[in-house]
Amino acid sequence: MIGSRIGGRYEIVKNIGDGGMSKVYLAHDVILDRDVAIKVLNYDFANEESLKRRFKREALSATSLTHPHIVDIFDVGEEGELHYLVMEYIEGQTLKKFIQDNGALTPKQALPIMLQIVSAIANAHHNGIVHRDVKPQNILMDSDGNAKITDFGIAMALSATAHTKTNSVIGTVHYLSPEQARGGMATKKSDIYSLGIVLYELLSGELPFTADTAVAIALKHLQEETPSVKSIFPSIPQSLENVILKATMKDATYRYDSADEMYDDLLTVLSPERANEQRFAILFDDDRTRAIPIVSETPKFDSVEVTKKIEPVKLEQSPPSPKKRKKWPFIVGGIAGVAILLLVLSLIPGVLGPKKAVIPTVAGMEEAEAKDVLTESGFNSFISQELQSDDIKEGEVIKTIPEAGKKRAVDSEITLYISIGKEKSLLADYIGSNAETTMASLEGQFKSIESEEEFSDKPKGTIIGQEPDAGEVIPSETELLFTVSKGLEMKILDNLIGYDEGRLDDYEKSSGFQINIRKEYSSTVSEGRVISQTPNGKTEIEKGGKVEVVVSKGPAKKPDKLIVQKVTIEYVPDIVEAVPREEDGDESDEEDDGNNSEVVQQPAPVPQLIRIYIQDKNNKMTTIFEEFPITETVEKTISLTLEDGQNGAYKVMRDSEKIFAEVVNYNDTK
């Protein structure tokens, strides 16, 4: 598969992933000169026209989706028995791997990812496409930390085949909605459920429902309440846990009505206004079960205070004028007993009370000065209340109740409203959050929100600085400035092929790239020169990034060969001495007797000296390799070690006679 070309234009480079029913390859589209990912289905579609049609339909419908957080499908094709999808190539990892590597994310880290995923699903839903298998394994994280969803509808389309499965499907069951577990149709709300499970996993680093078997997990989805992430990480805001609880309601009618609604909820979930939200719960109505989410926004603390203070104002402002009281006391009293009582009560201070005085104007004075002025007028009972004001400076009196100019008994209580200045709110620390979503969620709350980009090792789009810092600010005066990472500084890498090591050194110094050299034999590139490089020349890579180059070691040496030959060295005794002995007549009698009694007696063998010379990698022909005497024929194994191309030889001498001589070439033998 690697190195082959499919569809006439996609050159398969390497395998980058394996799924149960598919393999994913990195490929190069030679027509558009770009890298693509090709998902090749590991499924035998032969004779299964309806399944093939269904797969194509699902895949083609997914090609209609264009969204920054959905992996683009460029093409759907088949070549012989091979069925494949051509997709946008995302250099990165799956969200599952990301969670496994990073563990639980903080709400601030998780939220931007979640917003991206939910926006992608919302987009698909608008186009009438239900994903049906939302899980972190189907979400890719690119190097900038952006999430992209893949595999719309495809996985489930394929699983609806006659193939028997095992517990290998457990990965899917972890995110399966109760209605899907029960075998029902997957709906948009099923995707919302799965999104809730994904959010749980992002925040806790673990799955809400685990068990040994697929069915045990499915049963938990059906029967058990979604566990609380707050019980694992109590610092997670209730408002955020509520998103999980609402998305993962067993009964789909209680979930978010749409992914859009979930998105909107997520946008404000970390805002200070929602800091005191109560736990999401469902109440039951008498005749019809109905969701009553207790997520009503708690009013701002500030406004609570203001209304409380204003209430007495109304009461004080509305008492009937003294004139009326005097003129119609009995008529009013005759109308309603309650009114009489009120009137009598209000008349008493006027009749019996001590001295009255007119309240002076103290607005705009410092609090102490105002009290002095009031004391001079005869008043002696004060209450101070703080109040925000855009016009009155902090510490100065805004107004009094009763208002200036009113005539009141001198022992009346006067409330002084002291300005605490302009409205303030707590600016959070947004460093580490995603700029796009943060700025969207803060829009309109400040005088201005701006951002500037800087190179950083933080993922692109991450806030790396903010001005002012977290703390109390006056929103209407705050010009919020975020410093946003534009990722790592990129530089174009030169084509290094053919460079020698000296030039590589110079380039490493001047460019700032880290060059790692690996050596390999090459029969085409001369020794010391660069054969290849990764990444390729003219590629943009981060400043200081690593470059792998392969430098030639020259042509490869073939391994040494061991040549073993067996020679039989015959013992050829010189019989010249024995013959005259037998012919020796003088001792013939004795000899004959002896020979007769000891039938096999022979003369003691005369040893012959054998010398072996070897010419090979380790030995020279000029020196004796081995020397030994023989008195009988022996077998000898001669071993030669030869380097590539080397000629070897050996000879065997018996006394002074050369009995073997052989020349062996490295290439002669196998």
């Binding site: 095992t166 499907v169 499915a218």
Partner: protein, 252 residues
């Protein structure tokens, strides 16, 4: 006791991942095995054929004289299945191409009238006689487990999209505990062992009609397979049909 074994690729698949065989010892003890393999490219075929071959080898080598008590037989059968599981599981984990393979495995050990069945997966053993069709084994299926939990109804189970998911398979898990069933073979009773390629396609009434018809045993198995193919034949189809009627004729 007579038997017929038939395995068919069906009409849609390009590979037959089913395997089936009946082994007989000289003393008449029989082992009938059926396996439905799964798992990608090579795995399914390898898993089922290896399971059937290896358990057969184990059986043919055993010295049955040592096995008197029923308990011994049950223990042997259980150990043989565990041995096959270990073998396949190890092979799957050591070879990338076989990763994730597994197989169902029905192994029926028949001694005279008594039959001991080891069951793993969703292949099935039926006992069929004049009184009807009785499914002896219960599928280790996801849907059955949901049904047992009371979460779904029979109706929902019948159309559940994941009814092809099974909970147990030989070779896909480190440890396996096969279910053991015993069955007394009575006069005029047939034992039908089959893969889901048959049981998903042929209902019990048709099964009974064919098995109890007057045709020869071979024709009956062919008819069963033909019917499954006629109903679509999406999967491989394997059948072992054992006729116990003649038990007495052989051992008077």
């Amino acid at each position: 006791m007579r038997f017929e074994v038939l395995t068919d690729i069906g009409r849609k698949r390009t590979v037959n991942e089913d395997s089936a065989a009946v082994y007989t010892l000289p003393n008449g003890i029989m082992l009938a095995v059926i396996a439905d393999g799964m798992g990608g490219h090579l795995g399914g075929d390898y898993a089922s054929s290896t399971a059937v071959r290896v358990i057969g080898e184990q059986f043919m080598e055993l010295d049955s004289s040592k096995f008197e008590a029923e308990d011994n037989w049950a223990q042997w059968l259980r150990e043989a299945v565990i041995y096959v599981n270990d073998l396949l599981y190890t092979h799957a984990n050591e070879n990338e191409a076989y990763k994730g393979m597994g197989t169902t495995l029905e192994a029926a050990l028949i001694r005279g009238r008594s039959c001991l069945i080891s069951h793993t997966g969703d292949s099935r053993v039926y006992a069929i006689d004049g009184q009807g069709v009785r499914q002896v084994t219960r599928d280790h299926s996801y849907v059955n487990a949901l049904l047992d939990s009371g979460e779904i109804t029979e109706q929902e189970a019948a159309v559940h999209p994941q009814r092809n998911w099974i909970m147990k398979a030989i070779g896909s898990e480190k440890t396996i505990v096969p279910d053991l069933y015993t069955l007394e073979l009575e006069d005029d009773m047939y034992m039908l062992i089959c893969t889901d390629g048959l049981s998903n396609k042929v209902n019990q009434q048709s099964m009974s009609d064919i098995v109890l018809s007057g045709a020869a045993l071979r024709e009956k198995t062919e008819e069963l397979v033909d019917l499954a193919n006629k109903m679509g034949g999406e999967d491989n189809i394997s059948v072992i049909l054992i006729d116990s009627t003649e038990v007495e004729a052989i051992n008077p």
